[in-house]
Symmetry: C2
Amino acid sequence: MDAQSTSMQIPEDEKSVILDSITIDCVIFGFKNEELEVLLVKHKEGISKNKWGLPGGWIYENEGIDDAANRLLLELTGIKDVYLEQLRAFGAPDRFPLSRVITVGYYALIKEEDYDLKAGYTAAEVAWFKVSEVKDLIYDHQQILEIGQKRLRRRIKQEPIGFNLLPEKFTLLQLMHLYEQILGYEMDKPNFRRKILKMDLLTPLAEKQKDVSHRAAKLYRFNPETYKKLLEKGFNFEF
Amino acid sequence: MDAQSTSMQIPEDEKSVILDSITIDCVIFGFKNEELEVLLVKHKEGISKNKWGLPGGWIYENEGIDDAANRLLLELTGIKDVYLEQLRAFGAPDRFPLSRVITVGYYALIKEEDYDLKAGYTAAEVAWFKVSEVKDLIYDHQQILEIGQKRLRRRIKQEPIGFNLLPEKFTLLQLMHLYEQILGYEMDKPNFRRKILKMDLLTPLAEKQKDVSHRAAKLYRFNPETYKKLLEKGFNFEF
DNA sequence: ATACTTGTAGTCAATATTACTATAAGTAAC
DNA sequence: GTTACTTATAGTAATATTGACTACAAGTAT
């Protein structure tokens, strides 16, 4: 979202407290039906009317950019304490056609189950899209999305951040599918299982999957203590 | 370098063509005498007079931020085509005391031998410092430096970017020392040699080291073709 | 000639990876 | 309930990698 695209919505007296040539845009990833998804908003006004783009907004003058990104995310999705990391600044001189605006890209990982579409915008304006099918976003948002995907791919190989996309309880196969989806290649079930279990990162639960038409798999929970230890020591999630 | 700190140096008629609340700051790494170094400049005017900070500057209104970073680097060091990558935007509301300025951090790797200190500034204003000894930089530059180090540490484990810090011809031990310096731990010589040679990333030269008071080591050159192949396929530089 | 320093080669046990096969535990169809 | 089907989970075996070493080569300095 860029300054001019929706500036009519901002009352005059509020304009003075936001920075006017820097915006924030968020790539919000979710995972549903074995597919990586991204949350997009449809612009209502301005030159990008009726086109889809990344959710974003302005930074208040007394607010840090990370704080601004967290606030925008809360305003949009109604959830807080999500995994959120800055991608980088995007500043091609012609990235926004009406004036020189630099945007700071962020990417977030959320559990789709926790998220209620109606919390912020109405359903007509915001929706999940399969990442693989997204195209023709406004401005340079397609590029920001790509950089976000690239970052996610890198991160997931070194930190178990994938857990932010899954429900609390999940099966090993779900986790493996998440990895396959993000990394873009297939894996071997027994090998994946062995490697991830040896890391001692998952806590097995007494529970099992329900309502599946085949042998129910054991459910696991992510073990944050081991995660911390592994982070300090450094490790490799390559499969 | 922030807007106000040296604003007196900019003629009035040039002010209009730069962006006024965004700057660029560069962490320029070098490697000399087995130590990782960083290039700093001493501020001459403004509130940070006589204090050391990262070299930086403004972005022209018709210039992309990556272009601006490359230009600033050329102006400062006289060299181009260096390894340069954006770190991220730094935007704490109080990072610059006089006004709200967001800076975009970059980090560069250069071969110190290629660099002539006198090309840009005079020797009194710019100097190399051992990274381990740098402290009390202006504003949030200490943080930017740390983030730069962290990024370098990460990158060097996945891409052989270390070559950008070494001279064209180098010995295996020099390369290993570079890794040790950046990663902060010691390595085993025979094992390092074996692993890196197997990657087929180095081209052995007929030449040997000169003027050393011990057995001269063979010199190697970096092989860019293998590098490309390895990058596509993905690999691990962990030692 | 000897000590000393660094380069380079090689060894070997432990561990990890890869590509599998095999079996267990369920559901669904007949 | 027996059979087919699906997914879960266990195990195996060849191969490659790692990590901690030893040994020796090739120079310099005394």
